[in-house]
């Protein structure tokens, strides 16, 4: 489908039309500078809620806690899969989070594909919203290559006015979104909605210009090319940075919990009050927590906070990066923002680069 144009005043109508058949989660401001994704009854303008949400939209695909299956106990136990998937829309997902969802898609579809995740993913419509200016001081999407997004959304809205208002010479400014259609499902949604029109050649050109122009608003923040990071991390096992962080990091796990690409989990049983049955649940876990790698004999294979943090950084910029050919960090900056002791991801990476002596970028 050709790119579409949607008048800004019609955006609430798109929201309403999606709501007819789906549960809709959208982003809204909750207190100053604090945005969240939540189930909404009425339209909430994603343009107003600009900074990354406290928790990423991942929570609708990999819930913080969920039931894997139910069981009956006693002499003849039985198990029954718990299926709780319904059509849903995540409305107003930023490029970094779209990239993060694409990474989760890889995790759960390659090698031992996980139906739970994939079924939910299939039932999920993603309405993306483009970023035209830098959201807050912690993020670094352009650095890890996640500002531009080509797939992973059903439709992507780009505000056609935000960057170059000076070009809107007429007194009456037509406020509109440029819609990139990412999937067949996205096309169907727009056809059913019926209130968009094909973008003109001039509008396509304007969109390209906006995309080109916005780059100036984003800076590259690592001191070396991203592609060098696996090498930097692989050679940094004994780096003094980890020893310094050992003294600072609380091992609280917050950086994992807010991360859109973290997916590790714990598994446990919950028993009904009747004691006849229960459910096996999983819950987000965090590799920076003390007990993450403890075995029953008491051995802890990553005893120090520094080793656990080192593991986390290696997952982002070495282990999974080597596996998937791109960082497993989308630069949303949530981890740096949430950290009580102000451990900043970009800063840590740059310290490792500097100590390795290969900082070739300023």
């Amino acid at each position: 489908m050709k790119p579409q144009i949607l008048l800004k005043e019609d955006l609430p109508l798109l929201y309403e039309s999606l709501k007819k058949k789906n549960k809709v989660f959208s982003v809204m401001e909750k207190g100053k500078g604090k945005c969240v994704f939540a189930e909404t009854d009425t339209f909430s303008d994603p343009l107003d809620a600009y900074t990354p949400t406290l928790l990423p939209p991942k929570k609708y695909l990999l819930p913080q806690q969920e039931t894997l299956f139910c069981f009956r106990m006693g002499a003849s136990p039985s198990v029954e899969e718990n299926v709780d998937v319904e059509p849903q829309v995540i409305f107003g997902v930023r490029p970094c989070d779209i990239h993060a969802i694409s990474l989760l898609d890889k995790t759960f579809s390659l090698e031992n594909a996980e139906n739970r995740y994939l079924d939910r993913r299939k039932q999920t419509i993603i309405v993306g919203i483009d970023c035209l200016h830098h959201c807050d001081t912690y993020s670094f999407c352009e650095t890890v290559g996640t500002l531009d997004v080509k797939e992973g959304f059903d439709i992507l809205l780009t505000d056609m006015q935000s960057v170059i208002p000076s070009e809107a010479k007429e007194s009456h400014i037509v406020e509109k979104f440029f819609i990139t259609v990412g999937t067949k499902k996205g096309e169907e949604i727009l056809k059913e909605f019926g209130k968009t029109r094909d973008a003109s050649d001039a509008e396509v050109e304007q969109f390209n210009k906006i995309h080109e122009a916005r780059k100036r608003a984003f800076e590259y923040r690592f001191k070396t090319e991203v592609a060098n990071l696996p090498l930097v991390l692989a050679g940094a096992n004994e780096d003094v940075t980890w020893k310094e962080l050992e003294e600072i990091c609380l091992g609280c796990g917050s950086c994992n919990i807010v991360c859109p690409t973290c997916y590790c989990f714990d598994v446990f049983d919950n028993v009904d009050l009747s004691l006849n049955g229960g459910e096996r649940c999983r819950q987000w876990d965090a590799c920076t927590l003390k007990d993450f790698a403890v075995v029953a004999t008491g051995e802890n294979f990553r005893k120090s906070r520094a080793n656990r943090l080192r593991h986390r950084f290696n997952r982002k910029f070495n282990y999974l990066m080597t596996k998937y050919g791109q960082p497993n960090c989308v630069g949303c900056g949530r981890c740096s923002k949430v950290c009580l002791v102000k451990i900043d991801t970009v800063d840590v990476v740059n310290r490792l680069i500097k100590n390795k002596g290969i900082g070739n970028r300023e």
Binding site: F69, E111, N307, N314
Partner: protein
């Protein structure tokens, strides 16, 4: 494939081995077939308590019926097949304690088998050195019986086993049976002998220096507690066994068994997928492994 949903299996036989360990024979329900290789593990569920990774301790039956006939001679247990297999569980926490409370006929949940076992077929014609510390005999027993069932396929076989005390020796009948056999060497040592103990005492590493090893044609298969590996590897290094011919099984925390939950990771490696058995050549490059 529902990755996390166990099938049901029945405990068909239970035996207490020591104060802390029990042996179970388990059969899949409704004739669900179950095939495995020595060194693999299963996830066993006690519903309402949880799930734990446990090594398979029996050995898969030989495919060739002739081999079966030959192999059973001089062997104290039959190979497990047709959906049955054996495990041995040490009581240390919630799930393992719950397993200990189960009796014959009880139903448990089962997932797996998972992971990669010992590459025994690649060791054909070679000398094998098995080194088991404590509970490490549980998975190694699978490999040992597999090899004994196919005795002619392998050259010299040496088994070293170390336990803390005589009372903690696992599969004692089988071990003493192996000591009687003329076609294999089997040495047992205990850290702390008691008055009735006539065998060797001292740590297991002491059994290695006296061995005559043809390093080039020897494979070492080692399973034991984490502390054991460093010292055993040092001794094997002195014997010049090539690192690629040393296989080690590692224990890590495991929640899923299918490469998703992240708990078992050593550096970039998922132990539940690429292990639990690794060659030392692989492990050497993993800073968090040993």
């Amino acid at each position: 494939m529902p990755l996390y949903i166990p099938t049901l299996a029945e405990i068909v036989q239970v035996r207490r081995l020591t104060a802390l360990e029990k042996w179970f024979k388990i059969r899949t329900k409704d004739g669900v077939s179950f095939s495995y290789e020595p060194g693999q593990f299963v996830e066993v569920s006690v519903f309402g308590i949880g799930e734990a990774p446990i090594s398979i301790s029996s050995s898969p039956p030989p495919l060739n019926p002739l081999l079966t006939k030959e192999g059973i001679k001089g062997r104290s247990t039959l190979p497990s097949g047709n959906g049955t297999f054996e495990i041995c569980v040490r009581k240390v926490g919630d799930v393992t304690t719950a397993l200990h409370s189960l009796e014959e006929g009880a139903i448990v949940g089962l997932r797996g088998p998972f992971g990669k076992g010992f590459p025994l077929s690649q060791m054909k014609g070679c000398d094998l050195l098995f080194i088991a510390g404590g509970l490490g005999i549980v998975p190694l027993r699978s490999a040992i019986n597999y090899v004994l069932d196919r005795r002619d396929d392998f050259s010299n076989i040496t088994i070293l086993y170390g336990a803390k005390t005589p009372a903690e020796i696992l599969f004692a009948d089988e071990l003493f049976g192996w000591q009687q056999r003329k076609d294999i060497e089997c040495e047992i040592t205990v850290d702390k002998p008691d008055s009735g103990w006539a065998g060797k005492s001292g740590v297991i590493t002491r059994l290695i220096p006296p061995l005559e090893i043809d390093a080039k044609r020897t494979y070492a298969l080692i399973v034991g507690p984490p502390v054991m590996y460093k010292y055993v590897l040092m001794e094997l290094g002195i014997k010049k066994i090539p690192e690629a011919q040393i296989y080690i099984s590692l224990e890590r925390r495991m929640k899923c068994g299918v490469g998703k939950c992240g708990h078992c990771q050593i550096n970039s490696v998922y132990v539940c997928q690429e292990g639990p058995v690794f060659s030392y050549r692989t492990l050497k490059f993993l800073s968090e492994a040993i």
